[in-house]
């Protein structure tokens, strides 16, 4: 089922949580809403789920206006950051809940409920826990049960609010791969909210980058990383060095008063001055982290550190040590007006 959001606005008191949002979610895709906390991503998700009402604007599922329908009539599965499982029910009863509260005519019989619940529990690979209570499960297990519970009512849309936010790093990584595989199996239109750019880039088909209630960019993970539309996206996704043209960015001379954004891995280091656009710097810190080597340098007369990432091979070919004087030049960069730079 596709979702269409048109001119959506939401205000909490004087605070504008969503400012004229327009967004199309294609049927069957896995979309990430990415942004820092307070950017409005969760509010947007809750409006889609019917837990919050927009001040004005349109929300369409498959072209049909759903604004007047409340949460239980939208056929939307919702997964919460803190699981929101029913504490007094077993895992089985949690998953069966959505089936048991169906109107009498649509409610499957007990045998069918049993079959469906066990099927879902097998899907999330936790059938062996069916008679436990939520308090007896680990965080990762709870979130998988929450997902099975949401899927039990065969929702047309799945909404996930920071689904891995409360889990530790290892489990988070494992679960997001698992979510991606599950989505490839079920092809259910899914929107998930995250503040973790790595998570968004790894899992989603498309990423929506939000900031302060507006959408900064919509694109594939590759697009938002390689071709950020705004300075905010540049800074929020991946690491970036900022060079102010006035101070120490000789290669930006033709652009006027601007800020240049350069990724750490897009900077070349050489021991000799190539041309007048090279910037002389001093190596301040060299740190090898797994397959990459991170070098921090500072321009003469500047206390700001510039971060450079080299592959280990490149570094080994021309090793650097603290205090070395070298020249740097970006292979590629983007410039933004001084005023628009965050």
């Amino acid at each position: 089922m596709s979702i269409s959001i048109q001119n959506l606005n939401k205000q909490f008191g004087t605070y504008k949580a969503l400012d004229n949002i327009n967004l199309e979610v294609n049927s069957g895709e896995l979309l990430a809403l990415l942004g820092p906390s307070g950017c409005g991503k969760t509010t947007l998700l809750r409006i889609i789920g019917g837990m919050e009402l927009a001040d004005f604007g349109k929300l369409l599922f498959n072209g049909e206006d759903v604004e007047q329908r409340d949460a239980r009539e939208r056929n939307v599965g919702f997964v919460f950051q803190h699981y929101a499982l029913f504490r007094h029910m077993t895992v089985f009863e949690n998953v069966a809940f959505g089936l048991r509260v169906k109107p009498k005519k649509e409610r499957p019989n007990e045998a069918e409920i049993k079959r469906r619940v066990h099927e879902l529990l097998s899907l999330v690979q936790l059938d062996w826990l069916h008679d436990r209570y939520p308090a007896q499960l680990s965080g990762g297990q709870r979130q998988r049960i929450a997902l099975a519970r949401a899927l039990a009512v065969e929702p047309k849309i799945l909404l996930l609010d920071e689904p891995f936010g409360a889990l530790d790093a290892q489990v988070r990584k494992e679960l997001r791969r698992w979510l991606r595989r599950l989505h490839d199996e079920l092809h259910i239109t899914s929107v998930f909210v995250t503040h973790d750019q790595e998570e968004a880039l790894e899992v989603a088909d498309r990423v929506v980058v939000m900031n302060k209630g507006v959408i900064e960019q919509v694109g594939t993970p590759d697009e938002v990383y390689a071709a950020p539309a705004t300075s905010f996206v540049y800074q929020f996704i991946g690491n970036v060095n900022l060079f102010h043209s006035r101070d120490h960015a000789p290669w930006t001379s033709e652009h006027g008063d601007v800020v240049a954004y350069v990724r750490p891995h897009d900077i070349d280091i050489s021991t000799t001055r190539q041309d007048e656009t090279s910037l002389p710097v001093e190596v301040k810190l060299v740190r090898a982290i797994g397959s990459i080597v991170r070098v921090e340098v500072a321009a003469d007369g500047s206390s700001e550190f510039i971060e450079i990432e080299l592959s280990r091979e490149r570094f080994d070919a021309a090793p650097l040590a603290n205090g070395d004087r070298v020249f740097i030049r970006p292979r590629q960069f983007r410039v933004f007006e001084e005023a628009s730079a965050a």
Binding site: G49, G50, M51, D70, A71, R72, R74, N75, V76, G77, F78, F80, H82, A84, L85, F86, R87, H88, M89, F97, G98, R100, V101, K102, Y133, A135, Q136, A146, R149, A150, A152, V153
Partner: protein
Amino acid sequence: MSSFKAHSVLPGFNLALGFTLLYLSLIVLIPLSALFVNTASLGFGGFWDVVTGDRVLASLKVTFLTSFAAAVANAFFGLVVAWVLVRYSFPGKRIIDALVDLPFALPTAVAGIVLATLYAPNGWLGQYFAELGIKIAYTPLGIVVALTFIGLPFVVRTVQPVLEDVEAEVEEAAASLGAGRWDVFRRVIFPAVAPALLTGFSLAFARAIGEYGSVIFIAGNMPYISEITPLLIIAKLEQYDYAGATAIALAMLLISFALLLAINGLQWWSSRRGAR
């Protein structure tokens, strides 16, 4: 005992248990056993004759039935009040929250006099009921009103924190799964607060059984109809019938204890099913 100790990582078990037993003995057990001792002077036959007297039986019936009715009413309305206080925010919420505790602070006799005045056939509220042919003050119904007033904070204050513990998210999750409001309440909220509600109920019930001050002003105290047992005990004391008074008190104590034990058992059972 030693196996108890071995399982606990907290120090001071012996000291804490010793203190608990000593304290309970001084405050609860010794006064109560005095009751037994005093009653013993009657002998079992004498005791039985006193407590199965018609007037005593009638008063026990009034006391326990009105207390039960008041506790049920409090369980229901207390849950509603707690719900409103937890889930909604509105101007004056803090004031209402504070108002809930007033029955704790008010001298019960004052409450009884106020309620009796209000609900008397010519009182502010009583006159409208009188038109409908319902008499509240000076009837068992009046006793229920007084006991409801007295017991309300018990339910609200036990349910409120538990309800606060049930995240709004859980209700939203239930709604997104298609549950209507009634289903959300019946299947999600009620089971979560049931143990606390039962605690509040039994506290309100126990308090109502022992209530004296507020009831005697509104009850009318007609023997066999609206006379509560505590009043009967006082009456016996005034006639210097100490043994008779303690006999009735003992009977009340035994019934209360049995009822509270049963409620505790029910609670243990329901919480074992629930919040594990």
